[in-house]
């Protein structure tokens, strides 16, 4: 039994899960969304992006959406992705884990100022 690829969850995968929180996106859309939500500090390249997507699909955290029937002609080759319920659950628990970390960091005076 191989070690699970997404345990712990890599930050790229977490960002992808977060980017899909508001709805379905294709690869480029995910990349742009991640760029936006990280203030342009993370730009996922195709290799990282699609590897992460593949892993997430295999783990059942996201799923591909068949949008070809409704897609415009130029978008036929694009695959759209959306969160599954277990993906949403994992993203939630990951956020909570990070929040816990944040509380600890704050208690240790690593972070100052307002609650984020």
């Amino acid at each position: 039994m191989p070690k699970r690829k997404l345990d712990p969850l890599p930050s790229a995968a977490f960002h992808i899960l977060l980017s899909l929180a508001d709805g379905e996106l294709h690869g480029y859309g995910i990349m742009r969304q991640v760029e936006e939500q990280t203030n342009a500090t993370i730009r996922l390249g195709p290799g990282t992006l699609y590897s992460s997507l593949q892993a997430l699909v295999e783990e059942g955290l996201i799923e591909e959406v068949d949008r070809r029937s409704t897609a415009a002609k130029g978008q036929e080759r694009r695959r759209y992705y959306r969160l599954t319920s277990s993906g949403r659950k994992l993203a939630h628990s990951e956020a909570e884990r990070l929040a816990d970390l944040l509380r600890v960091a704050r208690a240790k005076k690593f972070l100052k100022g307002e609650y984020v």
Binding site: P46, G47, T48, Y50, S52, E58, R77
Partner: protein
Amino acid sequence: MSEEIFAFLLRLYPAAFREKYRDEAVQLYRDRLRDESGAFLRARLYLDMLVDAASGLPQAWRNSYAENPAPSFAPNVEATPSFRLLEKEKLRPESIAIGGTLSVLALFAFGFLISLPAPFRPLPASGGKMFPIESVLERLNRTPSPASDGPVSEGAGTAGYASASSGAPPSQPSRSGAVAVRIESPQQIDAAERDRVIQSVARNMQAHYFNHDQAQHASAALLALEHRGAYVAIVDGPDLAARLTADLRNSTQDVHLIVDYSSRPLPAQPGAPSAALSPALLEQYRQAMKQQNCAFEKVEILPGKIGYFKLNSFPDPDVCGAAARAAMQQLNQADAIIFDLRNNGGGQPDMVAQISASLFDHPVPWFNPRANPSAIMLSPAGSSLAKKPVYILTSTLTRSGAEQFTYNLKMLKRATIVGENTGGSAELGVFHRIDDHFGMGIPETPIANPYGKPDWELIGVAPDVKVPASDALATAEKLVLQRRNN
């Protein structure tokens, strides 16, 4: 960065990944190219692609390996055996070439490794010595006599040359009570035997070698070498014998010293001197010689009045003396004599002397390293052969007593040697048995050489006219005719 370069980067990804995401990845790259114009953004894009290749590639390969045990996510509920295709893509020629090369290299490496000498480790069950059946046979092969089994067992050496062909008397008298079954014993030796042999060789040297100073020196050198562990790695009987021989010769500069290994057990009593042959054995030998015409294969006069004598041994004169005289008498009709020793492995020094004596009309200094003294004067036999030119045909099989004949006549300038360098075995030392497998030859008296040159031990006798043995007779005949015409 052009799209081609990006497409090349994509080729580095696993096949399954490319198949699924290639088009989308290219599309994503195009989208970014479209959206990110301007020098800074472009440069950033290119950098992104490189960084992405560095981080995305390992991840993609990890994924592609991990996707094989997919059953964990889709358990086979019916628990029936199933067949899964691990890799759909065909093997590329490069992969086949690399795999093939590596396989061949591995094969050669393995072959090389098993060809390396490995120290012998006896099976635990064999008690470190031999298999039960071998030990039984070994005991049966020993003489029933309570002869000393000590490491140094004394015995007189043989007086005659051992003959490689059917000439000399059998050197191992058959013993009543000994079982005729013999098997090849393993040639491996253990540390105890090695130590015993080395100690015996050193003791035998001191006890028997004619030069006491050198004997002391050689045995001390041997023991010092053993003390330093020089022999520890030797596990093979023949190897040890060869190494000890080399070391003895190195310390003494005497090539007549030899340590020998016999894979067959040596007789408990060393070969009896021919003089002491029992009457029954002598009769046996006489019969054998008569049947073989004393190993005188041919005595004839070739065209051109060339006497040709092919003898494959120098047999005991007590048995074959008359036959040898008759042969020489017959050769008297010729004007030149060719002795064909190409297949002569040796024999009795007395016969060598008898035949040689008829080739001289005056006494000559004679070298017989087996006798003491080794240098004597040989009296002529009073024969008309003395004035006739003599040719001797040699090969690498010409050994021992045949070499003595060749060497002496060459030194006395009495014969022209035609053929190949002779075998180079004088075996002058007196044989001493060390144990069942090891023995050694030690010269017990100084060997005086009347000709003042090295004898033929190891180096053989060089021909005057060097031709392949198969051409020797024709060459000699030609030489006879040339000489006659001059």
